[in-house]
Amino acid sequence: MPFIPHTEKDTREMLKTIGVDSIADLFNEIPTELKIEQLEHVPEALSEMEISRLMRQRAKMDGSPMCFIGAGAYEHHIPTAVWDIATRGEFYSAYTPYQAEASQGTLQVIYEYQTMITELTGLDVSNASLYDGASALAEASLMAVRINRRVKSGRVLLAPGVNPVYEQVAAAIAGSQGLTFERLPKDVTTGNVDFNSLPEGGDPVAVVLQQPSFTGTLDDVDRMTDWAHANGALMIGVVNPTSLALLKAPGRWGTEGADIAIGEGQPLGIPMSSGGPYFGFMTCKKKHVRQMPGRIVGRTTDLDDNPGFALTLQAREQHIRRSKATSNICTNQGLMVTAATIYMSLLGYEGLVNVANTCHHNTALLADGLSALDGVERLFDGPFFHEVALRLNRPVAPLLEALADRDILAGLDITSFVGTDALLVCATETKTQGDIEACIVAFSDVLASANTNSA
């Protein structure tokens, strides 16, 4: 029996101790008419050898195309040590550190993680993580409502560069508590906030700006932050952790700094894996810590006055406060945070700077090469980090399909988001100059044959 250790003798003895004749008798409190005979759609069992073969066949179907898509998930080199250690059974198969004395490993990892992520974002405190970047925006918005109690509007203003899926997720999770999400006006030449036509009044509870934006651009974070504060709103920054090696930390935005920073933690050593598991990070100013959702680890002392770590501020959480909790969230993404902490330790600040600069440089190469082709141009003026939006003079989808046939994923079709035929590209440190040139050549080929076909 897979994973069940009982011998027949064990089972017999155990039934005897219980005082029943069969295992079936143990289910005698369940009404008979509810019991089922046979599952119809679960196949027969496979051995480890058989399932391994099947999964390898399936993996082969997906292949390993060269990927230039970003848009919220990024292909970075992950040092081998990261998952070698993170999948050690002592991390992998432990649970939430309720018994602190027997969970000091997990607790110290989270404390070190909290330290690193607050250093990167320039804010005071961090939780032990949330599910992902998108759901973190929902939690940050709800948190802003709790902090900014004076404001009753429930209006959250989103800069034009906030990932459209983040908006959908925030609306799905926080919408039923009366929050509404509205977009600030966009400057069509830069893709950024149009500061000349910002709305007046309306009592917004929070302003959200994503830096770098969904389309890769860099916005005036200082001006936005000061505007938010001048209008009585909290400032929420959505940031990419790799970019923080170079870009101004949210805690230093504007005169007072952003109040809450969140983002997708995936770039810090987490495989792209079709979308998860990732982790959402969240940091804030110290004065807001009691409104923060999720687990938080604190350093304290034990009976002998030695330092140790424990979950703290649990009075905010669902298992204590029930219907009055800050959120229904239970788990953080412990294993992913463990991996990210090891990743940040291995890279250090200098390593992360090198990754960030290489991503920027590679993306510039790719964008320059592609926009030199006929019918391709940069969609927005202005600085970028490691993604660039390109405008095309023809529909994007058929081109991407043709390139996918050559095992090149040349970017994401963002036509519906920007309202014009456009493509979002990203080249991380994993791409060589040769890879980038191959992509440009293939793109040029595909464009040429598309021109021939339409001629």
């Binding site: 994973f3 069940i4 009982h6 155990m14 101790t17 369940i30 679960v42 993996a59 082969k60 997906d62 195309p65 919220g72 040590a81 991390f91 432990a94 939430t96 018994q99 027997a102 969970s103 000091q104 990892v109 330290t115 990167l120 320039g122 992902d132 998108a134 759901s135 609306a171 039923s176 009366g178 860099l218 923080l244 870009l247 101004k248 792209m272 979308g275 998860g276 304290t300 703290t312 501020l313 669902q318 298992h319 204590i320 909790a325 959120s327 229904n328 788990t331 412990g334 294993l335 463990t338 330790s345 291995l346 890279l347 600040y349 990754v355 290489t358 920027h360 600085p383 996918a404 994401l412």
Partner: protein, 491 residues
Amino acid sequence: MNSRMSSKLIFEKSRSGRRAFAQAPVDAEASKIPSNLMRNDKPRLPEASELQTVRHFTRLSQMNFSIDTQFYPLGSCTMKYNPRACNALALLPEFAGRHPLGPVSHGQGFLTCMFELQEMLKDVTGMKGVSLTPMAGAQGELAGVAMIKAYHEARGDHERTEIICPDAAHGTNPATAMMCGCQVVEVPTGAEGDIDFDALKSAVGPKTAGIMLTNPSTLGVFERRIKEVADLVHDAGGLLYYDGANLNAILGKVRPGDMDFDVIHMNLHKTFSTPHGGGGPGSGAVGVNDRLLPFMPIPVIGSKQVDGETVYGWLSEDDLPQSIGRLSGFMGNAGVLFRAYVYMRMLGRDGMERVSEYATLNANYLSSRLKEAGFELAFPTRRASHEFIVTLKREARSLNLTAMDLAKALLDKNYHAPTTYFPLLVPECLLIEPTETESKETLDNFVTAMIEIATAAKEGAEFKDAPYTMPVRRLDDVKAARQLDLAYRPE
């Protein structure tokens, strides 16, 4: 586990200029970003060699209890063995490296697995549709209650905003109801652990949106009048939500769909053995019956026939216009779903039923042995499901041995403690869930340890200062909350 292991932080081991040089590009041209957008401070990240980092985190791992190293009978958490193959196969390079927005032409292997997982989960729960997107149990709950609300609203039934929860429910149930903008109505539990049916009768009415139930309940017993409960709530116009926390107890035996539940969430990290990972990632797939199909969170995996071949793809906004929407940036915790898929395929059809059978056998054996050893069961007249509750209210009074003391004493005997002080309505309780993957010897040894602690207490031993053999002694929680130290900031 060594006691008094070093708890020096990685930052304290750092030396300026030291790095794991193999792990980042060596030279990188400085970027061309305007200086007003750049940071001019230097974040303090560790400066350590690769070996130092490996050694540091390996040492930290050794300061944990885990399933792979200890018996971990944490009630309500289903701490069963996490097969290694599940992890290795989920991390095959093509799967781990697949971009979430990659085309379906380069994802048929992945999508086939996910589609089949949906089908298997439908089968074991008796539901009509499954969405894999919720990223944890609590998010599955949120999806479930949001669907119940959307259902009523689509029918113009705007007054239905009350969610009924038993007093024994997980804290996430009432917290979720509030997040969905509902009010919580709490219903008490009867003496034998079933819901108080008369109280339920007076709680249901024209404002009832639904009821959230765990069955077997958090008290470790099966809700025997489930059909009557379902009829009562349905007749009042409400829907039934099944909290899948305890699905391990009935897997392959009884299905929530057959008990007339309208919507359920599954904790794949419990029943389907994906890793708990020190507190996540979880995965909280939801299942629905016909009524709630149009409201499922997106994306869902669909299939169609193209030139005689089955092709898998995403169902999204256009396919499910009434959906409650998206809950994650992409499609949920795909890597966790892979692990659950592999586990289910390895168990196969017959293996499902064996899970609940041996989980129940182990729980009943352990409860019988503990009862025989003099421990008091909270519901002695009832059959244990896959878990059961011991109450120490007698020992707390006569021996000054509380549930907390016993939990800490167990750590010194190299056992992880059961869940303590939950459910809240049983005083000094231990919620014990052995799971099916533990052997009889392990259970026998655990009973011996429990007896030894009780005997020592009777002979006057106190465990107020336990544990003694862990890397730290009991920690000062009050200080942790009052003098907040949440990040390392050297002077």
